[in-house]
Symmetry: C2
């Protein structure tokens, strides 16, 4: 869907300069990682690899791309080189849904430097964003303690595919369903949704609106009760619930979308229980995130389902994962990697040199610590006897698919397994403990 022009212009000016200097096919290695976990947390959930690999496999300069670059004044021979180019790098990556920590490589690209450079921007774009949202969703679902969580952020997401990839990543991170119909169609994510305030407002009164909806959806009736006044909305919902029962159906839920959710959910639960609707669920929404859900849970708000939108799909309190993609080694001579590092004035912007792998150690099914080690180093002291797994696996070899990517259901299952292996102290929403990562580059 997107081609090689989905990149920064400097990738092309550098690409030309590599080509012009005879260096375009020099073998180089780039690694993608982040320096700091998002949301003042400790971990991230890797996501976005499927889109990244689809992009790389389809990488072609089409005629209209070449024509545009020609208009910009690029050298004809360089353009001929680009139009014949096919992506021939090897890619190693951690599986989608894997927990990763700061400094650990998420993806490694090895091959001709011009190609490795060109794909920096799209790889960062796709992996930064989806990893950010999968991580946010994991936090929201952790706060919800197993309750149902619905993602419904499309209207506030950053453009159509900002919404679409957010829905995918949120589902992988733990959400149960989405409001985004296109995400349902494309990814098979279960859909949820009932009514907006406009439904109520389009009728002369709320009771009439509720009853009409119940007639149209007798088997799937959830009523939004806050259009005018939530306490009276709850009473009207109960009346409609009685109507449904008289027809052999039931009121599945009521939704609170504004006001003091703690107090209103307690009122709703009491009123529903008193009227014999103990099984009717309470759905809450309204600028929710992991922090407000944690607080509502702490005060035992009787909320069954959490609708989370804006703050999830925009990663509201930290809307960009600062993932970077750095040259870590280059072959000045065949078969001899020269490790490269950036030694910036900002020490936190310095990078680790060399091709790295992450080894994760487990004990009793829990992650106990990681070691980021150089592939060229001898690492007998890493403790090979214990239970461990090396996270980066080959995905593309010389541009060709090496291992089929998992389905979204498999990715979601992987993410949930991974999260279960991470002790609560590393996942807690506020002030999580640092997870031990040793670097031996």
């Amino acid at each position: 869907m997107y081609g090689p022009l989905l990149t920064d212009f400097y990738q092309l000016t550098m690409g030309y300069a590599y080509w012009k200097s005879g260096l375009a096919e020099k073998e180089a290695c780039f690694q993608l990682f982040f320096r700091k976990a998002p949301f003042s947390g400790q971990f991230a959930l890797a996501c976005g690899l499927q889109d990244a690999i689809d992009f790389l496999r389809g990488l072609r300069f089409r005629d209209e791309d070449i024509a545009y670059l020609q208009k910009l004044g690029f050298d004809e021979k360089f353009l001929a080189y680009l139009s014949n180019m096919r992506f021939s790098c090897s890619v190693d990556a951690v599986a989608e849904g894997t927990i990763v920590f700061a400094k650990e490589p998420i993806l490694r690209v090895t091959g001709p430097i011009l190609q490795g450079q060109l794909v920096e921007t799209p790889l960062l774009n796709m992996i930064n964003f989806q990893t950010l949202i999968a991580t946010k969703a994991a936090r929201v679902c952790y706060a919800a303690q197993g309750d149902e969580v619905i993602e419904f952020g499309l209207r506030r997401a950053h453009g159509p595919d900002g919404g679409l990839s957010a829905s995918r990543a949120a589902y992988i991170g733990g959400c149960d369903s989405t409001s985004n119909v296109l995400a349902g169609q494309r990814f098979g994510i279960p859909l949820r949704g009932t009514m907006a305030h406009s439904w109520i407002m389009s009728f002369p009164d709320e009771q009439h609106a509720f009853d009409t909806y119940a007639s149209a959806w007798p088997g799937a009736c959830v009523l939004m009760v806050d259009t005018h006044d939530s306490p009276s909305g709850i009473k009207n919902a109960i009346k409609t619930g009685n109507l449904l029962r008289a027809r052999g159906q039931d009121l599945l839920g009521v939704r609170l979308d504004s006001g003091d959710l703690l107090q209103l959910s307690k009122v709703a639960r009491e009123e529903l229980d008193a009227a014999g609707f103990a099984h009717t669920k309470i759905i809450a929404s309204g600028d929710l995130d992991e922090y407000s859900i944690t607080d509502l849970k702490k005060h035992e708000a009787p909320i069954d389902t959490w609708g989370v939108g804006t703050r999830l799909v925009t990663a509201h309190d930290d809307p960009a994962l600062g993932g970077v993609y750095k040259l870590v080694a280059i072959k000045d001579e065949p078969n001899a990697w020269r490790p490269c590092a950036k030694t910036s004035n900002d020490s936190e912007k310095s990078t680790l040199p060399g091709l790295l792998q992450t080894r994760r150690f487990l004990h009793d099914g829990k992650f106990v610590g990681d070691c980021v080690y150089g592939l060229s180093s001898t690492h007998t002291s890493l403790g090979e006897e214990t239970d461990f797994v090396d996270l980066l696996k080959p995905i593309l070899k010389a541009g060709q698919i090496h291992a089929d990517l998992p389905t979204i259901a498999q990715v979601k299952a992987n993410a949930q397994r991974e999260l279960a292996c991470l002790d609560d102290r590393f996942k807690t929403i506020r002030q999580a403990s640092p997870y031990p990562v040793e670097v031996r580059s």
Copy 2:
């Protein structure tokens, strides 16, 4: 590119319920507005209408959409209704690049309630995001006081079209250029970009890297000087500059991407001037936004060009415009609008009823105040004699284009004219004065 499934599921469940109750074609009016300007500011720059109108004009349920909805269990007759449906609403909107304030309608949709409802989500998605970014860009460029501003946020944007629409909106808001090559191709936005740290790191030393780049791009040489140490990078850049001069070319610029930009830009300016490179520009980047640019300007940092990425394209300090789309009137009888309003428990979530227009008054070419008035009200007292403009104009009539939309260049020019008409006190980055908006609904 996107079809009607780019929506929330509840639009379809409500749509079915309207249809089932015989209400699908009842005439309704929805208005899109925001309740609070973003970034603790006072204004927003309307953007996103082009995508919204393209979406509406192409609205069709394709066979695969119907097949998916069938799988979800929707009624066959309802699906037949959807597959025959063509968008037949009228749309009035403020032109892209128009300054808007809280509560003022940006867009109004009038027509069959089912259709008006269905398009709520995509309209909000497109207009919320692009308005947010155009506004952010206007603020960034205001802080830069006429200096060149380059947008280069693609790698941290929310997915590919999160980046693409951000580039478009940032250009409209005032940025001079982008790094996003696809945005250059699609929208004709000028491109900028030179080199990344990886270019430097791929060579044995910085001087070699600079000289090689200068040979490839003798007429467009901007050197990134902070890979190892900015002060020594500046000295190396000057050496390369002398090499260029010996060949009849020149060093166009140096780029600082980390560290203390105030101090480093002063060092760079001094060293460049002392070496006879007084015309060489200093480009600064590194998590910049309107706040840090304002501070650097206040301390007279000798920076000529500002590269702004992450914090612009993610609207970092306020990553979602809370635009809403509300039912404001419905015709229970033909030719008789019944105004509708939401009277929520949260008074700030209440809405203004009725079809509204915004009248903007001017004096000496400056905006002096707005009046949001009901279209049905008599408004002789609005002061018709003075200079004013009504902001909402017809765009679609019964689904057909009424007025051709302006080109992106025209939209950008409109935005810059609008911003010039808004007094500084309403635009200042911190603690802007509230602009007078009177509501007479």
